[in-house]
Symmetry: C2
Subunit: 232 residues, 2 copies
């Protein structure tokens, strides 16, 4: 089946993101080390994020608010207000951080220049737009779709809008749950490019992923060759 449209995820597929959250987490753990050990802080943060997900959605502002809440909770209110301000400053640094492309991304997109490409990325609208702008890749994409959740409904809507059948669509990203499984469920194809760090709320046991119509590559550098193979 021919490949009419290639979808690419942004965070941790085109540019680094989760590693920045990881570093920020470590800095906050250091900051609060005299109140709480890092493992407890991590576990409590994850509880808070899970509880807040339906209200806050994804992204650095949601992370910062959940971290402040966790810091107050886990210290029984003893966290100092200057420590809370430091958490806000670290959240701002996440938002202001320059975009760093992953290895092989610029080359792969240059090789795919004659393809229809769409960026489908989840998270905070404002921050994602500034990352697209900062990446210098915006012009490569026919359309940039910033979505609040990546489920089959979302992919169906994007494909309808662009007039492409699921069978002619290939989605590429680092998350089996968000980038691969829903697209395969629609009848499309998925390409998994694992990233070193995975956010716990975005992971999925391998057993829940589909049996077929998806491939795994080590880096985006392998994508042009795989697309050529799939475009049979």
């Amino acid at each position: 089946m021919s490949v009419e449209l290639i979808g690419l995820d942004g965070d941790d597929t085109l540019w680094h993101s989760e590693s920045l959250f990881t570093v920020t987490n470590e800095r906050i753990a250091d900051l609060l080390a005299h109140h709480v050990d890092a493992a407890t802080l991590d576990a409590r943060l994850l509880d808070t994020e899970r509880r807040n997900l339906k209200l806050f959605g994804y992204g650095a502002k949601a992370f910062t608010l959940s971290m402040i809440e966790t810091a107050i909770e886990v210290t029984d209110g003893r966290v100092a207000t200057h420590e809370i301000q430091t958490i806000i400053d670290l959240g701002k640094a996440l938002l202001a951080h320059p975009v760093e492309l992953l290895d092989g991304v610029a080359d792969a997109l240059a090789q795919l220049a004659d393809r229809r490409l769409v960026l489908i990325t989840k998270g905070d609208l404002f921050h994602q737009e500034s990352k697209v702008a900062g990446s210098g890749l915006g012009d490569r994409f026919e359309s940039v779709e910033i979505v609040s959740e990546k489920d089959d409904h979302t992919y169906r809507r994007v494909l309808d809008r662009l007039g492409v059948a699921p069978e002619q669509f290939v989605m590429v990203g680092n998350s089996l749950r968000s980038d691969v499984a829903p697209v395969v469920a629609l009848g499309g194809r998925g390409v998994h490019v694992p990233y070193a760090h995975v956010w716990a709320l975005d992971s999925e046991p391998e057993s829940d992923v589909p049996d077929e119509r998806w491939w795994r590559i080590d880096s985006l550098g392998e994508l042009p060759a795989l697309v050529a193979k799939l475009d049979g």
Copy 2:
């Protein structure tokens, strides 16, 4: 010139928003009254929001983070952590608040049922999507465009995507700066529906607005008749 497409703003045009922020502001002013008077808090919050706008964008999470930062600053760090938690809780209440339509909205949209309508709303993606869902109006719109900034570039992109010339587009909203001026600048027409509360960062002196191709109505109930008149 015929009217092919009508754009509608969401917050404070279809449903109440700024009045909820105003009430939340008052509650936080009460909470912090033993630290700071309300006028000082308001002025400092506005400074913080202006400073953070480029990083945080618009919406309740941005508001909550700026309010925490202001509370720490204005009290020289003496704000209590349980007061910060209350600020977070009030921010969550903003996000969880049921959608309340403005008077005349449901009727006006029913009367415009045979028109092409697009919702063009600014702010936090996640929260705006949940407001569209909660409004029960989602099906009325051919498309829902949640954007980070409402400037001529944004309107141009939406119109290109929907294949409509600016001359055949009418945008309706409560903000002269965001809903009327950029559309008129593109060659389209604007309808201003003032709302009782205007966020200071979203206001514009009347002298900066265009001289022609825009109209003012008191409520959305007057829109169907105005559209019939414009559609000449």
